[in-house]
Subunit: 351 residues, 2 copies
Amino acid sequence: MPARRTPRRATIIEVARRAGVSIKTVSRVTNDEPNVRPGLRQKVARAVEELGYRPLQAARGLAARRSRLLALVYDNPSAAYLVRVQQAASLCAQEHGMRLLYHPCDHRDPQLAAALVLLSTQLRLEGIILVPPVSLDARVVAALEAADIPCALLAPAAAPAGACAVLLDDEGAARELTQHLLGLGHRRIGFVRGHDDHEASRARLAGFRQAMRRAGAVVDPGLVTAGDFTFEAGRRAGAQLLDRRVRPGAIIASNDDMAAGVIAAAHDRNVAIPAQLSVCGFDDTPVAGMLWPPLTTMHQPISELARSGTRLLLERIAGNSLPRTPSRLHYELVVRASTAAAPRDGVAGGP
Amino acid sequence: MPARRTPRRATIIEVARRAGVSIKTVSRVTNDEPNVRPGLRQKVARAVEELGYRPLQAARGLAARRSRLLALVYDNPSAAYLVRVQQAASLCAQEHGMRLLYHPCDHRDPQLAAALVLLSTQLRLEGIILVPPVSLDARVVAALEAADIPCALLAPAAAPAGACAVLLDDEGAARELTQHLLGLGHRRIGFVRGHDDHEASRARLAGFRQAMRRAGAVVDPGLVTAGDFTFEAGRRAGAQLLDRRVRPGAIIASNDDMAAGVIAAAHDRNVAIPAQLSVCGFDDTPVAGMLWPPLTTMHQPISELARSGTRLLLERIAGNSLPRTPSRLHYELVVRASTAAAPRDGVAGGP
DNA sequence: TTGTATGCGTTATCAC
DNA sequence: GTGATAACGCATACAA
């Protein structure tokens, strides 16, 4: 790739000449520094305007030995999730004069840690935001810490001491979702697990079990099925659960896409929702509202998660003291039309 | 925000000292330039390894007067669409030694053109990829051209001479989709329009009209409804169409989200799909497969669009000659279960 | 094949 | 308050 140099722009020197001042004064003005007489400031501002001068980031970064750059590292979560995270984090970074770089990756790549350290040194990153499941990788976090790169962990399994992290309460969320079904009289409740690489999968299942135990309900091991967060997995799990001799009266899927799969499996078998089967999802992604019937699901504050994480990271970079314990964000149950009271006996009838 | 300088890393000078060569030789090695004896190359490589040296992008960019940076400018299309574009474009850029910066924006912002020029000069961007509807904004394109910033337009309305663009064939796609319904015997076909800011909206409606005209079918103006690509708009449009005295036998929505809305409206009214109503979407986003019944829709090669556009931009930057006429990508009809033969008389029955 | 000297466009130091 | 001047870390003519 031959070098195609971009067109020349006005430099600080030309601005200084035009305004009849030194480059230092121009620098002061463009950086909003004090100690410049209003008159001079005006003159410089005018010269800047006339020449369309904009400080070059590369030069600025080199001289100041900082990049004003953060990176958002993720591995292909759902598009809806990802876009929310990107937007919230970008906005927050911008508000603090930083730029956010998006960095997709493969979270199972054994060289990921090294790659991130490399990226960080090449770009002189000032911090990194890790999106799950990357935020769960202890080796990555350790390598970044070792390389003295500040990072914020979004929804990690456990927050290492010193690392700044923002937590979700997937366990509590799953408990409440389960209680919603229990409150409707359901006892035979099926569960579709998420992908093992995600901490949320473990936590959601745990919350489900807790709520069941507390209610004195039995979790039939045959009603807990594997999944990986995809629609197809949900469909398979739904098929498996609905083809049992005695069907569950309700099914919780570990995310909305899988819940859509369960609903499809139910439609395939003419099982009426919510009359014969209640279905719950998780995450409250846009698809939840597009399904039929609209999906009861658990809303997780993804934007808030990203915003808080970014803010925390910026605080840390600025050297401010962080709260000792990471904050934990709150979920919210969104009841739509896919859940209803269980039939009297608490068990849905057979085919 | 106080400056928190990132930790010092090894510089090219230290590597040179350690390897016992000049910095020029180190530079040659890190840039894979010829004319270095294997022995020296080895020595330098070792020193690089031991010191964990990585050339700093900012310094490299400053000295070479180029950034190896492209920007992807978009305004909030659907998440699924966006993520596909991001991934394809990023990958293509990386393969050519470039980095891709994501730049969300408000496409109606009157200062967008200026903002992009600003961004470009600050970052010394080597090129910009415009995603619709930004690629439709003549002022933006003109401003970028005027500022001598190479840009690639994804699916613009019309490709300005000289600009590199990749086109979709929304008109043809809509024609084929309509023909699919006509082939099933439908004559009373409703249409839900997209957002006016998108060229695709116009083209899709035009294609629909063409196919109808060619088949000698009449387009009832009352069956062409407004929309804006959102689920809610689709639901409203669906309600409007289905509450008419004589219902359409089929409805084409200008994207999948709106088709989901139409389906929801049908479910609300106990209109069976596809027995009483056929529904088509557009784009073949993931939600199309999650709906019930699964949606017949028109697949547009979004990844290919982004990849081609990026490649074209890189060619242009490299100074290679471009094909005179922009390439036009091909759509593909995806028939699922939401469409079926029309009732005998070609008109669905009343409630 | 290898090295030297200069420049890239800013910020930062320290006199004035 | 303001301005010379030295970094910053690398690429690159040009010389050897």
